[in-house]
Amino acid sequence: MPKDHGIGAAPKRREDVRFLTGTGQYTDDINVYGQTYCHFLRSDVAHGKITSIDTSEAEKMPGVVRIFTGKDFEGLGGLPCGWQVTDKHGAPMKEPGHPVLAQGKVRHVGDPIAAVVADSLEEARDAAEAIMVEIEDLPAVVDMKAALESGAAKVHDDLDDNLCYDWQFGSEQEAVDKAFAEAAHVSTLELVNNRLVANPMEPRVAVGEYNRANDESTLYTTSQNPHVIRLLMGAFVLNIPEHKLRVVAPDVGGGFGTKIFHYAEEAFVTWASRQINRPVKWTSTRSEAFMSDAHGRDHVTKIELALDKDNNFTGLRTDTYANMGAYLSTFSSSVPTWLHGTLMAGNYKTPAVQVNVKAVFTNTVPVDAYRGAGRPEATFQLERVVDKAARELGVDPIALRRQNFITEFPYATPVAVEYDTGDYVATMDKLEEMIDRAGFEARRKESESRGKLRGLGINCYIEACGIAPSNLVGQLGARAGLYDAATVRVNATGSISVMVGAHSHGQGHETAFPQVVAEMLGIDESMIDIVHGDSSKIPFGMGTYGSRSLAVCGSAMVRATEKIINKAKKIAAHLLEASEGDIELKDGQFTVAGTDKSVAWGDVTLAAYVPHNYPLEEIEPGLEETAFYDPANFTYPAGAYACEVEVDPETGKVTIERFAAADDFGNVVNPMIVEGQVHGGLAQGIGQAMLENCVYDESGQLLTASYMDYAMPRADDVPFYAVDHSCATPCTHNPLGVKGCGEAGAIGSPPSVVNAVIDALHSGGHKVEHIDMPVSPHRVWQAMQG
């Protein structure tokens, strides 16, 4: 019987009512008295030297308040990168400056050159057209390998070349060489992990408001982590101390990683508002988003898998080129390294694993974390090469995976991380049960009777979530701690506000987090509210990304609630004239064990605030506690996915007939929300596999800069999904035993789609080894032609 409240229940989301009635408050819904509007003049060339900017005519245009250029930002900081990667020779990565507005050069289409602030948006746009900018075109570097050739144009003149870092990680060279030298079989695959644009449906918006009366700045912004923005922007860019800077991220319309980062527009509106003493608002258009939101993925990889004569995996070696774009976005450098290399062992006990990554600057939009961030890239390579090996060896792809599964935990991989728990056999068993594998041949025959090809693709995945143990990531180059914080404020009459550092932008924290506190206290969820997204209301927090909210911030909330319970028991013991050790809390009542003496939750909370009968000599009045929680390890959600496709051999069109996901997320607080997270991740992964591709031409022009050109998955591109999370091995090191579920779908789904297409083509006699994503009709048809 499913629970009807507390942990494990699926109450309807309380945030839904405002979203369903049009009363949510997103950043663009905020208008501040006296506000001005900002329009950025952006580069329309990929690479060039700015020889002159003449704003004199534009400044005379109606409504113009002020026009800013890079010169106005000289002396201020640039946008910082939060993670310093050390290359394989021990040198720090190259870290070129990232100005708020371009200084001297433009380095990608969309690089902001000037900003017009005017009384209305129309006036700002009109005036931007009157700015005379002369740019001397420079050759653009777009292809990563070409960018590393000697003589290639340099994105940053002050660097020797376009190589950000050359990183190597994993087993000793000797062990890796030996595995390959002694291998009975080596499978090799070269592949592209296509560049994507995260495309949350709400474009980015930033409103800066300066209050001269108290010298305070407020930034309203579409962020997944307002405190991180406050820290980065205040300390590194604008030199505003935290107590004079408030960052608010209200309702945010999806993030998927791209709203983690600190962006130039945020710093601009905050700073410009101080200069003109009026609020400044910027709302991105979708076309602007395509050329200014950080992009995702964009890896080119060669992967080699060594197997012994019994088909055991003995060695894995990868060589990846990772596109950084023109500048280092906030977490860009960590994505191809610590979020990718550390997952290359996958679900398998391969003893020798070596990962090589060259990060490359190009004249493209910066690339950073997008749902999964590094882990989809790792999973895709590994699960494609394992599938290829199975085909080359003539063995069943599921059996080959099962044979090589890690089965004992904890398991220290050759790539630095230790999986605390998991059961890959159980999720594969569950998957096989879900997909009716026995019936596949009949379904294939039925497809063939209609002239179609049918394929079944399987893959496993593992991810490192609950980001992250601060001391470990510090050793790995992170310039921040990755703990989180929560404050539980109990009010006099017993209701509770929980201030959390996590930010909810679709994940339903306002519903799920109270379930946890309610369960611990035995009170009704309706008595508990979650406060998030405002640095003036919440002590601190690192935000939401890397499937960390419940595992890290939820753990902080548990710890703070435990402190509340401890203090409340002291008060209850006083009121009941009993020993603190004898007090039990159950169903919102404090009871003296073994007696019928009890006092209700509300009486204890009232006593804390009206301390007339209270142990004042022992404890302070009030009932509010804060906890910071730093995880001991990452969490390791894992699972097995299956995709069944039909391919039309006449056109190459692929349709997804079935999709199944068996996940191990550990314990689950709200199964409805978890399943929704998986559904959304699957659509993004299927989108990457089938449709989405961000394309630049050779000159660095962005060819996919709108929804007319960039194919977003729509309702008729995807099926109903079968999802299951019943195979739960609880995380061993956080108090809730939770692992995180936000990224799994996007990480786990692309390989099974491509594996299924390859399987379908082979069933039709087409010996196709690989098709790069997206597996568009054109690419599939071409592959079928040999």
């Binding site: 839904d16 369903l20 663009d28 709400e202 399943e675 659509a683 929804y707 007319m708 109903f720 999802v723």
Partner: protein
């Protein structure tokens, strides 16, 4: 400037507007009805769908002046008279058909138009009708399920919750 008069969610409104003011701007900036969202600039995403004289329309594709004399309905006018969620809104909540909520107003308005013309649409018909509405959060599973449920169809057999 042009004067426009129309009925929005049952109330008559009259405003002086620029001739090139889009309906989205009119609703959001002039009437402060910010439930109609703008998710793109190419009329692809559907976050701004409203009803104009009963037809589902992307508000970004029309000028405010074109709505002269029209009956306009937006997401703010969809709840029942007592403020409770209407059948479609309630189904979206019951079946978790929304996450971040940004595309949701357009989805609800589109679903309402579909169900008015086709009271018991099939899964395929729903997916086809949602062609002009992009959601990045839900993977559409629970949106399609919610619309089927709102039309009185049994959705218990659909995979997962």
């Amino acid at each position: 400037m042009t004067k426009v008069t129309m009925t929005v969610n049952g109330k008559t409104v009259a405003k002086e507007v620029r001739g090139n003011m889009l309906m989205t701007e009119f609703l959001r900036d002039e009437l402060h009805l910010t439930g109609t969202h703008v998710g793109c600039d190419t009329s692809q995403c559907g976050a701004c769908v409203i009803h104009v004289n009963g037809q589902d329309v992307k508000a970004c594709t029309m000028f405010a002046g074109e709505a002269e004399g029209a009956e306009v309905a937006t997401i703010e006018g969809m709840a029942n008279a007592d403020g409770s969620l209407n059948t479609i809104q309630q189904a979206f909540q019951d079946y978790h058909g929304l996450q971040c909520g940004f595309c949701t107003p357009g989805m609800v308005m589109t679903a309402a138009a579909l169900l008015r013309d086709n009271p018991k649409p099939s899964e395929t018909e729903i997916r086809d009708y949602l062609e002009g509405n992009i959601c990045r959060c839900t993977g559409y599973h629970n949106i399609v399920k919610a619309i089927m449920a709102a039309s009185g169809q049994d959705v218990s057999a659909i995979a997962a919750e």
